[in-house]
Amino acid sequence: MTAPQIEVLLQTLIAGFLLGGLYALIGIGMTLIMGVMKIINLAHGELMMVSMYIAYWLFTLFGLDPYLSVFIAAPVMFLIGVGLQKFLITPVLKVDSILPENQVILTVGIAMVLSNLAMLFFTSDYRSTPVSYATSAWYLSDHWKGSPIELSLSIPWTVSFVFAVAITAGLWFFLTKTDTGKSVRATSQDFQAALIMGVDVDRMRMLTFGLGSALVGAAGCLFIPIYYLYPSMGGQFTLIAFVVTIIGGLGSTAGAIIGGIILSIFESMTATYLGMGWAPVDRFVVFVAALIFLPAGIVSLARKRRLGK
């Protein structure tokens, strides 16, 4: 391969990797919710959109850097999540109906309301948070004078990636080292057993949905510096979250990380080598393929090999 080809490949991989961390964060909230509550939330992306608007207004009105908005937006999203769970989702689960898929349809309704309200309040104009370092990048050639190829790491992309990793690590710590976190995992792995052990399942559900919403809210704050914002953008994030969740396996945080990176690199590669027009299809194709071939997620493959046949 020639130097320019290597450059393009490496750049593509780097971009994919950095964005992958963010994708993982978007998906982690959903994998938790699906794993613990077996709830399919088609409004996941809309929650991220709401958080992005929060970050946007904090930046525009108060000059607050989006990365710092995480500390405000995430708790707000947590509360919203708990509210949704308590007032909408729990009632739906109790209802007796012919169609089994009520809960999914409910979240579709929620998504519609959220995105339409955002449009009514904020118009469909594209918004962004032009931070001072938005276009800054770290160049390989600045640090390695004789480098044969040029690589650049966009600063906002890198910072987002680092934050995403930090948050994911924090989550992992919460889930494995704290009692509450362990209860969450227990409820996700074996609902009945958790009940017997005295886990307050309703509280777990609210906590999980709140946590999932907070996580995707944080992802929103990390995303807005590197992209732009408009009311109907939720859908694509929901899809990303789903693909990440399915590839990684329901309830698996490690899986979400792997899934996020795989998806992002796949998209990055196809965008570079196949062109942008077909880009949206990638995700769907990966999604359906994962549903069919990897229903238990990638982590289950690893588990199988460890236990032997």
Partner: protein, 312 residues
């Protein structure tokens, strides 16, 4: 008395335009009947067989484009699209069914959602075939008066209504419901669930495809964003059936009237113009929580609600 209700309604619908309605009202009537057709077909797959499709726009769009592409490539009347769409959509449904029917419940729903979107993007990209974003325009309008279009779609609706009735009361219907209630038990009782789910999907798809082909001829213009629309077609379809009543004969018809009326009322209030998604979303949430089986399905609950303000 009840046995004659369908005939009475059909007769009423047949004579209504003869009193002389303006173009706008005819348009509303046509939309109402068309959405009844789409709703009834979705109901067969989703309400009776329990396979909830979030991507019926795919079938609508394939039907629409069959008519459109046929016209664009041959110059012959797009009305040929109607019989052609039956074949095209049936084949398409078989392929799709082979891929997604193995998925259960919500995963099936998500896969169909993906299917609708994939088709939309595909149509946008295959510009040589579909004209891409530019769409396909039919230059020669068959009739100026809307009434003939109305009678065509009304005929389709009547046939669909009776087809659904016959199917539901036959072996197929029993098998569909058995699959919906417990697929594993159904399989254990000798029902080839894959086969019957495929039949349900194909029937449902073909009827929706017919509506799509009709749409092409009636509107005279189609493009991917319109006919493969997730919100404006797939989700509206689900709402029509859910609001009206899943797994009932009249549910889709009732739901269609309500959705169309709601749509027009919201559109006519200047302030609320673009808020119809919010209202639809809220309606969906309310129906799902309080009247999950729709107006026809939860009729007793509805009466109680109106009388006492409570649902239990």
């Amino acid at each position: 008395m009840k046995r004659y209700l369908p005939f009475v309604i059909l007769a009423l619908l047949a004579v209504v335009p003869l009193v002389g309605l303006n173009s706008y009202l005819m348009h509303i009537l046509i939309l109402f009947v068309m959405w009844s057709v789409i709703g009834m077909s979705w109901n067969l797959l989703g309400g009776y067989c329990g396979q909830v499709s979030f991507g019926h726009a795919a079938f609508f769009g394939v039907g629409a484009y069959t008519a459109g592409i046929f016209y664009a490539k041959t110059g012959l009347s797009a009305w040929w699209g109607l019989p052609l769409s039956i074949v095209a959509v049936a084949l398409f449904a078989l392929v799709i069914g082979f891929i997604v029917l193995r998925l259960r419940g919500p995963y099936f729903a998500l896969a169909t959602l993906a299917m609708g979107e994939v088709l939309r993007v595909t149509a946008e990209n295959l510009t040589n075939l579909t004209g891409g974003d530019v769409g396909i325009m039919i230059r020669e309008r068959t009739w100026v008066e809307k009434i003939w279009y109305y009678y065509i779609i009304l005929a389709v609706a009547a046939i669909t209504f009776y087809l659904v009735k016959i199917v539901v009361q036959s072996r197929l219907g029993y098998y569909f419901v058995a699959i919906r209630e417990d697929q594993d038990a159904a399989e254990s009782l000798g029902i080839n669930t894959t086969l019957y789910k495929t039949i349900a999907l194909s029937l449902s798809a073909v009827i929706t495809g017919l509506a799509g082909a009709f749409y092409t001829n009636y509107m005279g213009y189609i493009d991917p964003k319109v006919v493969f629309a997730l919100h404006d077609i797939s989700i509206i379809t689900i709402m029509v059936v859910m609001v009206g009543g899943v797994a009932t004969f009249w549910g889709p018809v009732i739901g269609s009237i309500i959705m169309i009326l709601m749509s027009e009322v919201i559109r006519s209030i200047p302030m609320l113009g673009s808020a119809h998604q919010t209202f639809f979303g809220m309606l969906l949430i309310i129906i799902i929580i309080f009247l999950p089986n729709g107006i026809a399905g939860d009729f007793k609950k509805l009466k109680r609600l109106i009388r006492t303000g409570r649902t239990t």
